[in-house]
């Protein structure tokens, strides 16, 4: 197991380097030079050259990459082309905002999904299965923004239960600020709840169709210990899906962040694309992709810890 963990950790390094190369390269493949975009058409060639030198665009590409990477590793992502503020600060703020939503939505969505999936799987074709399946199917098929808008209407416009948007003031008491989280978190949790619920149900059904749950009953185990065995067997694929879903949540949802006016990573990414703010774009994608790699690594290790057949 230890050998497996070390090997996986080492394997992650080339992946991360590859990711950084792709991120760096992708942005340079986009047509349109960011400086040209930014400068007024009547700007003199000298000024443009000066600007390019200031942002490092005059150096050969590989130098630009190495410079960018070494700074990025030390947490310096340069300045935003658009407003010359440090990228790291913007990114940090946006990621913290998104992380709050992502973690809460994951906890809510995953636990609801797992509970619904188990209820459905263990009551195959009976009414609890049907009810749970309706809920999970609704979770995956309702459009995000529609749920968000309906919820805003119901809870903020027609009634005055929750604030419609924003994140609240830092001076507000903690509980008041918590209220701002409710609607975006609930909205974001629908899809993870739905997909996890459906996978848990399918996996449980597949496992119950095998012989060993019967054999467990034959050796005298009762419902709960058998449930424990089934859950452990079902865990690896479900963990993989949860890792993926959490990765999506970290990327932030532009729609949900827009509806609730929540300045998270989805928002940042969107704005950076429109402004051709290459340093911001690179930094955001690099950090998100690295999160993805690390998340995958953790899922791999967890899966192998649970299922010995995966330790290869």
């Amino acid at each position: 197991m230890l050998v497996f963990v070390i090997r996986r950790l080492l394997q992650a390094i080339p992946i991360l380097i590859g990711v950084s190369l792709v991120v760096f390269g992708l942005v340079h493949l986009v047509p349109g030079n960011p400086i040209d975009m930014l400068m007024p058409p009547e700007a003199s060639p000298e000024v443009i050259a000066q600007m390019k030198a200031a942002f490092g665009f005059d150096k050969p590409l590989y130098m630009q990459y190495l410079l960018w990477l070494s700074r990025a590793i030390s947490g310096d992502f340069g300045l935003s082309i658009f407003n010359s503020t440090p990228v790291a600060g913007q990114l940090m703020d946006a990621l913290t905002n998104t992380l709050k939503l992502a973690i809460l939505a994951a906890i809510l969505g995953f636990s609801a999904g797992i509970a619904l999936g188990l209820i459905a799987g263990f009551n195959h074709n009976r009414w609890p299965d049907k009810i749970a399946s309706v809920i999970t199917t609704a979770g995956v098929s309702m459009p995000h923004y529609w749920c968000a808008i309906v919820m805003v209407l119901a809870c903020a416009v027609l009634n005055d239960w929750l604030p419609a948007q924003g994140m609240g003031d830092d001076q507000d008491p903690f509980l008041d600020r918590l209220q701002y989280l409710v609607m975006p978190v609930v909205t974001l949790s629908f899809i993870p709840m739905g997909v996890v619920g459906r996978l848990v149900r399918a996996t449980v059904l597949e496992i119950l169709g095998r012989e060993f749950p019967g054999a467990l009953a034959a050796k005298g185990l009762t419902r709960w210990p058998i449930l424990r065995h089934v859950c452990k067997n079902a865990a690896p694929p479900v963990l993989a899906l949860m890792g993926l879903q959490f990765g999506y949540l970290l990327g932030g949802s532009i729609l949900v962040e827009t509806v609730f006016n929540w300045p998270g990573s989805g928002n940042l990414l969107n704005i950076a694309i429109f402004r051709r703010d290459i340093p911001v774009l690179q930094a955001t994608i690099l950090v998100l992709a690295s999160f993805f790699v690390v998340l995958n690594l953790m899922v791999d290790i967890l899966q192998a810890a649970i299922d010995p057949r995966l330790r290869r």
């Binding site: 060993f212 019967g214 034959a218 050796k219 649970i306």
Partner: protein, 328 residues
């Protein structure tokens, strides 16, 4: 006799409810087994052997209904409340499965799976249960047992997995062991080792064993009594000697004649013409009648009752008496 029987099964019936109509995979099985006796259920694939064993443990899925009585030590297993049923399963009544790879949980070690059973039944500490598990693996002759205790099922060979399965089944000293084709998935040399091990353990522990196989040779080797099963019914039961020497049911005869052991050496092997009927479309009369050379109008229209020829010896055939006369 009935009071000292280790297992007493009366009229055991297992129905699968299905959209196309109910299907009786086991139909009125009746037999009893004394302490220390080994009975083999012999029959072709699909005749309901596995379902019989599972029904005895009340282990069928919930779209199946089980009726009849299964008395072990005087208590009817099928009428026990859930907690007592769980106590009996793996306690006095235990089961070995055909495919140990499928019947063992792939993500727990062998040691964990055995210890879990012992803790459940005897309430001792996990550590001492693990000690017992080690002793059990040694008892079923698994080499370097201490290391194997920490193995997962996929890390063992087929024969070793079946030994581990046997250790698991014997963990809480059952009085009745149900063994569902425990050697079919193994290659021949390993099969013999496992059979010898089972017989040795059976004699040592004085267990009653119900052994399922479709191999007449294995049945003759290991058992005291044989029950021949055809299309969900026990068509003939008797001692090994009786059935091997003088089978009374035409199906038993056919089964014996189609094996090297039963057919007299030097004689041609015969096969039974036709194939077993589908359980969901059984003929109205005797299920074997379409394949039977002796079948007459009565066989085709009425289901023959059990004819009791002696204690534990029954046959379901209108022609059994003539067959007996022939044999004498």
């Amino acid at each position: 006799m009935a009071t000292e029987a280790a297992v007493d099964v009366r009229n055991l019936t297992a129905m699968f409810r299905r959209r196309e109509g109910d299907m009786a995979a086991v139909n009125g099985a009746t037999f009893s087994l004394a302490r220390g006796e080994v009975m083999t259920i012999l029959g072709e694939s699909g005749s309901g052997k596995s379902v019989t064993l599972k029904a005895m443990m009340g282990l069928l899925p919930d779209y199946a209904s089980i009726t009849g009585e299964v008395r072990v030590a005087g208590r009817d297993i099928l009428k026990l409340p859930p907690a007592a049923l769980a106590k009996a399963r793996g306690g006095e009544l235990s089961m070995i499965f055909q495919e140990p790879m499928a019947a063992l949980d792939p993500v727990y070690t062998i040691g964990e799976q055995i210890a879990e059973t012992i803790v459940k039944h005897e309430g001792i500490t996990y550590a001492s249960a693990m000690q017992r598990a080690l002793a059990l693996l040694e008892r079923v002759a698994i080499p370097s047992a201490a290391r194997r205790l920490k193995n997962y099922p996929h890390e063992m060979s087929g024969g070793m997995r079946q030994r581990a399965m046997i250790a698991l089944a014997l963990a809480c000293n059952p009085t009745v062991l149900l063994a569902d084709e425990p050697t079919t998935a193994l290659d021949v040399t390993v099969q013999i080792q496992i059979l010898l091990l089972l017989r040795e353990l059976q004699q040592e522990l004085g267990m009653s064993v119900i052994f399922v196989t479709h191999d007449v040779g294995v049945a003759a080797e290991i058992s005291d009594r044989i029950a021949v099963m055809y299309a969900g019914r026990f068509v003939e039961t008797g001692t090994v000697r009786e059935i091997m020497r003088h089978p009374k049911h035409p199906y038993s005869k056919g089964l014996l004649n189609s094996t090297v052991l039963g057919g007299l050496r030097g004689r041609r092997l015969e096969t039974i013409p036709g194939s077993p009927p589908s359980l969901s479309a059984l003929p109205r009369g005797c299920a074997f009648s379409p394949r039977c050379a002796q079948a007459d109008v009565r066989c085709l229209t009425t289901q023959p009752d059990e004819t009791v020829l002696g204690p534990g010896t029954i046959v379901r055939c209108f022609h059994a008496n003539t067959a007996m006369a022939e044999a004498i």
